[in-house]
Every structure is written in structure tokens, then in C-alpha cells.
């Protein structure tokens, strides 16, 4: 698992380098230099991660993988909601859902915190900064 990012970056850089070699000679100079330096850094990273850990040193994150994956999915879902249904609907939905289902707060607490958070964002961005809040993809098409 600890070599996964380095391996991923090595594959990505190899594809990047292959694409860069298709450019005209002057245009490819910088991408090729960056690509080879990145491959060197990936190699150094792999070497540095092969060292055995000292006793008492921090080991891999102990939180369950599913929980970490869940945090990423929540964030991605929130960003998608912002794009699709807009700020004024996505913010209360996200704050309420994350408090109720991830934080295990009561329905009432989740509701009033979501209302306060949405009001604060509306006051700050729409009233004070006079910004038109994004209405969402579904509501701008019609």
C-alpha cells in the first residue's frame, strides 16, 4: 500500500513522457525535463520508503479504509450537488446529511445547524459580498 502513490505517479509520468516526446523539439524540452526529474524523484521516494520503520515510529493510518473512502465520497458528492442543484440547496442538504448520518446528531440539531450554516453563507456571500450564488445546472438550463 505504501508504494501505491509512487507506482501510480510512475505510470502517469511514463504516459506524460510518451506524450511529450510526440511534441516538436522546442515545445517538448520542458515537459521532458519535468518528466525525467519526476521519475527520478519517484525512484528516490520508493527507496526512502523501503527503509524499515524504527520501533515507535508512526505506522500506516489506523482508521478503517471504508471510513476514509467514505470521507472522499461525501466530499465528491457535495461538489457534485453544488454543480447540479446550486449552492442554496446543496449546502443545507450536505450540512444536514453529514451531521445526521456521519456525526449521528439528532434530527433537530442537524436541522438548525444546517439552517444557521446556510443563512451564514447566504449573508456572507449574497448580502455582504453581493455575489450571485450559483443556482445549479438544473436551474440554469430552463
Amino acid at each position: 500500500m505504501k508504494y501505491l502513490p509512487a507506482a501510480g505517479l510512475a505510470i502517469f509520468t511514463s504516459i506524460f513522457l510518451a506524450a511529450a516526446y510526440g511534441y516538436p523539439s522546442q515545445a517538448r524540452a520542458f515537459p521532458v525535463a519535468v518528466g525525467w526529474v519526476t521519475l527520478l524523484l519517484v525512484a528516490l521516494d520508493i527507496v526512502s520508503r523501503t527503509k524499515p520503520l524504527k520501533p515507535g515510529a508512526a505506522t500506516e493510518d489506523s482508521r478503517p479504509l471504508g471510513r476514509q473512502f467514505g470521507a472522499v465520497v461525501w466530499l465528491a458528492a457535495f461538489a457534485l450537488m453544488l454543480v447540479l442543484i446550486g449552492i442554496l440547496y446543496a449546502v443545507p442538504l450536505y450540512v444536514f446529511a453529514s451531521l445526521r448520518f456521519r456525526g449521528r446528531r439528532s434530527w433537530l440539531t442537524s436541522l438548525w445547524i444546517a439552517a444557521v450554516a446556510t443563512s451564514a453563507i447566504w449573508l456572507l456571500f449574497a448580502v455582504v459580498l453581493r455575489l450571485e450564488l450559483y443556482p445549479g445546472y438544473f436551474f440554469t438550463r430552463s
Binding site: S25, F30, V83
Partner: protein, 98 residues
């Protein structure tokens, strides 16, 4: 709440919803970097200085008609290159010595 303000704030910069998507992608990338113990600050520095570095690299390469040996002609270049090599090699040697 912090996530909500961060994402709405990224939209507020230039009223572009694409910024929200970019922020979410970099949120996830930042989380993965913490998870796998990579420094975030160096990436921020690279994002800030990358464009200037590329522009100046092309400018220098055009001055020398594509000849990369221009980077080894002046003492200041050699000193900087030696510094980069030392900085890259230092953690490796420190690790091997332990």
C-alpha cells in the same frame, strides 16, 4: 461547515463553478497526500512557481537556440545545480546512514 465555506469561497473568487470542481479534486489530493505522508507545501510552491519556471526555461532555451549546455556555462548556474543535487541526495544519504 468548513467544507461548505471553502467550496462556496472557491466559486466566489471569479464566479466560476469549475473552481468548485478543481477545489474538490485538490481536497481529495491533499487528503491522499496526508494519508500517504507526502508534504503539501512543496506542491503549493511548485504550482505557484511552475508557470514562471516554464516561461523562463523557454526564454533561456530560445536565447541559446535550443542548446541546453547554456545551463552549465555560468558559475551561478553550476552552484544552483549543485545545490539542487545536494538537496535531493541529502535525505537519501541520511536514510542510508541510519
Amino acid at each position: 461547515m468548513v467544507t461548505a465555506v471553502a467550496l462556496v469561497g472557491s466559486y466566489a473568487v471569479d464566479r466560476n463553478i469549475g473552481n468548485v470542481v478543481v477545489t474538490a479534486i485538490f481536497d481529495i489530493l491533499g487528503y491522499l497526500m496526508i494519508r500517504f505522508d507526502y508534504p503539501r507545501l512543496t506542491m503549493v510552491v511548485a504550482l505557484v512557481l511552475g508557470a514562471a519556471a516554464e516561461r523562463n526555461f523557454h526564454q533561456t532555451t530560445m536565447m541559446s537556440d535550443g542548446n541546453l549546455s547554456i545551463y552549465f556555462h555560468r558559475n551561478v548556474c553550476l552552484i544552483l545545480l549543485a545545490g539542487i543535487v545536494c538537496l535531493l541526495a541529502a535525505p537519501l544519504f541520511r536514510g542510508l546512514r541510519r
